[in-house]
């Protein structure tokens, strides 16, 4: 069926009902606290006022729904090959979506839509998180025809691509070129993700503690006695033992978590893509397509360096579905050679660190200010003016200062940007040192930023936006940053490079 979409048209007339339900839902959601109060106080209300008010509100919503319906039109501008949506009652919005940029067209049906027999159509491009174009009520035939028309342009270019994927999935041949052994997973388990595991365990213990306390309080237990007993008898040894136990727990927990998640991790090559599968109980599998890779992160800490393992994180371009958007593909452990093999597949060449850009010393000063000066003055101020009892923790202050200070220092020392013709690599991190790599062709937009008091010092920041997230470098030599920016813009603008 071929329908003409070149004239602006409205949605199905019954669509007014969808608008009505939608607006009603929005208002109900915004006003539900008041509604709840009204329901409870129903008897006290003046019924006449209440019902006339309710009727007025319903009429108002109906009017809004009708106007929304009247003012919403859509058509395809054949000349420019774009879908145009016009909407809004007072605030008019006119959205133009170039057909060639459309990633996905979804036809779906909510409960209300099903009741009145219309369909919703959502158009998604690779851009922002929300759906760019939403048509709320059209007939099924029209939806299908519109979808076919919208996807026409895309099909020309991408059919081969889509076939390739399905073919890939069909002939899932087992030819893993990298397998992560249990030993490597053990190594990762004992060397990484401490903070995450500590957080999980702490959360667990805090809930346990609270429940325990509730229990003790209820059971009339003499709390005072228990507290003094704990305090006096084995203060130091208990703490030391507890700490050791806690550390062991963290390690064991970490290892178990990693093995559960990544057991039997296999990477196999299929045509141009990488196929990953992993998991002990539920096996997951994902595909990495090199052209869709945006940011690749290689990270390693001191222990891992000694054991020759590193972790790879790959961010792909978001393609529409929400789950995929956030998906960072994690390859938990591989050695140098394996990671190079993967990077070769992704980039066709090895990442070489180019010219180095260091941050200004103010970066360190600011980090120290944020992590030491501010909290400490808060602590001291609170101690002197409000609650002197917390000053008992004074002995811990030097420990804190040394710990946090060294984190800030190493974080500063590792904070680098390396630039050469093919790669932009940002190195960062105090303990886990991460190298984030992007290829200049993947850049979507660049932001430069400078605080006005940094003008004379000639330092500033840059943020590189890609379809897989941002990469920013702060307080570097601003002249060089601007120079790189011009260079990258030139490269992007003079080539028809494919970023996805």
């Amino acid at each position: 069926m071929r329908t003409d979409f070149n004239q602006p048209q409205r949605q199905s007339a019954v669509g007014v009902l969808v608008m009505f339900a939608d607006t009603l839902q929005k208002i109900a959601r915004a006003l539900w606290p008041i509604l709840v109060i009204w329901i409870f106080k129903f008897d006290e209300l003046n019924k006449v006022y209440f019902f006339s008010g309710a009727i007025a509100v319903f009429l108002g919503i109906a009017l809004v729904a009708y106007l929304k319906y009247r003012n919403f039109t859509f058509y395809i501008d054949a000349e420019n090959e774009e879908l145009i949506l016009q909407e809004g009652i007072f605030n008019k919005t006119n959205t133009a979506i170039s057909l060639s940029k459309i990633q996905q067209v979804n036809i779906n049906q909510s409960l209300v839509q099903r009741m009145i027999g219309v369909y919703g159509l959502e158009v998604d491009t690779a851009g922002s998180t929300k759906k760019e174009g939403v048509i709320k009520a059209i007939s099924h035939a029209l939806a299908l025809a519109l979808k076919a028309r919208l996807m026409e342009v895309e099909k020309k270019g991408i059919t081969d691509d889509k076939n390739a994927i399905t073919a890939d999935l069909m002939s899932e041949e087992e030819r893993p070129f990298i397998k992560i052994s249990l030993l490597s997973l053990l190594k990762v388990g004992i060397t990484s993700n401490y903070i995450r595991s500590i957080g999980l365990i702490l959360a667990f213990f805090i809930t346990l503690y609270e429940n325990g306390m509730n229990f003790l309080e209820q059971s009339d237990f003499d709390k005072q006695e228990l507290d003094s007993y704990v305090n006096q008898s084995f203060a130091m040894t208990t703490i030391a033992l507890l700490l050791a136990f806690f550390l062991l727990l963290v390690l064991v927990f970490n290892v178990i978590r990693i093995i559960l998640k990544y057991y039997n991790f296999k990477i196999s090559k299929q045509n141009e893509s990488l196929l990953l599968s992993f998991g002990l109980f539920n096996t997951k599998s994902t595909i990495i397509k090199p052209e869709r890779v945006q940011i690749t992160t290689v990270s390693q800490n001191y222990f891992q360096k000694k054991m020759n393992i590193l972790e790879l994180k790959i961010k792909q371009a978001s393609s529409g579905e929400k789950e995929e958007r956030k998906a960072v593909i994690d390859i938990p452990a591989c050695n140098k050679i394996e990671s190079n093999a993967i990077l070769m597949l992704l980039f066709d060449k090895l990442a070489v660190k180019g010219l180095m850009l260091k941050p200004n010393y103010r970066k360190l000063v600011f980090a120290l200010f944020l992590s030491i000066v501010l909290p400490l003055s808060g602590f001291l101020g609170f101690g002197y003016f409000v609650a002197p009892s917390i000053l008992e923790f004074m002995p811990f202050v030097p420990v804190y200062v040394i710990f946090v200070g060294s984190i800030a220092y190493f974080g500063f020392r590792n904070y680098r940007l390396f630039v050469n013709d093919d790669f932009i690599i940002k190195q960062s991190g105090a303990w886990d040192i991460a190298n984030e790599m992007i290829v200049p062709e993947k850049i979507q937009a660049i932001t430069s930023s400078q605080l006005f008091w940094h003008k004379s010092a000639d330092i500033g920041s840059i943020t590189i936006h890609t379809a897989g997230g941002n990469l920013s470098f702060q307080l570097g030599d601003f002249t060089r940053i601007k120079h790189y920016m011009n260079l990258w813009l030139y490269e992007i603008e003079t080539s028809d490079s494919n970023w996805m």
Partner: protein
């Protein structure tokens, strides 16, 4: 193949985005900014006034004193931010990319090459429409942080810009 050359390029001769002359927003847009500011200020003043009617016991003379000092400072601060924000905003369309500058204490310049633009939207707020102004939103695939929103452009100019950009996007294909 005969006329193929591949000279070394002096990257210092590249066009520099930092030397571009930015076009500022329409002066009329200042009224829109001003109206928005007024709404916020009125709300700010109204809240304590209404509260003092409902719960007079909360408002002793000391609190009124504090309010009398804090409110004007806050209002002044908000006005200053609105003013600087308006003054600093500027945009420029080059042959191959669009630049937008904004920021209050920092100067941010965002550059989007035309061949990375995904789609465009044109908004007219109710007040802007009265002044014949429009807002252009330029989207890339880089998520909301890399989108440009240029307010306060004359309606016809906005339409022209939209046509220009749509043309540029088409040409890239």
């Amino acid at each position: 193949m005969d006329n193929f050359t591949n000279e070394t390029m002096d990257t210092r001769q590249l066009p520099q985005f930092e030397t571009v002359a930015f076009e500022s927003l329409q002066a009329k847009y200042a009224w829109v900014v001003f109206a928005n500011l007024m709404v916020r200020i009125v709300l700010l003043v109204l809240v304590p006034l209404v509260l003092s009617r409902i719960k007079p016991e909360l408002f002793d003379s000391q609190l009124w004193m504090i309010l009398a000092v804090v409110l004007p400072v806050l209002v002044l601060f908000m006005s200053l931010i609105s003013y600087i924000g308006f003054k600093k905003k500027g945009f420029a369309f080059r042959n191959h990319d669009v630049l937008f500058r904004n920021g209050i204490i920092a100067t941010n310049t965002i550059v989007i090459p035309y061949n990375r633009v995904q789609h465009l939207a044109l908004h007219e707020g109710i007040l802007s429409r009265y002044f014949g102004l429009a807002t252009i939103e330029i989207f890339t695939a880089g998520g909301s942080s890399s989108d440009i929103v240029i307010p306060g452009i004359a309606k016809e100019q906005a339409e022209n810009i939209k046509q220009l950009l749509m043309g540029k996007i088409q040409k890239q294909l």
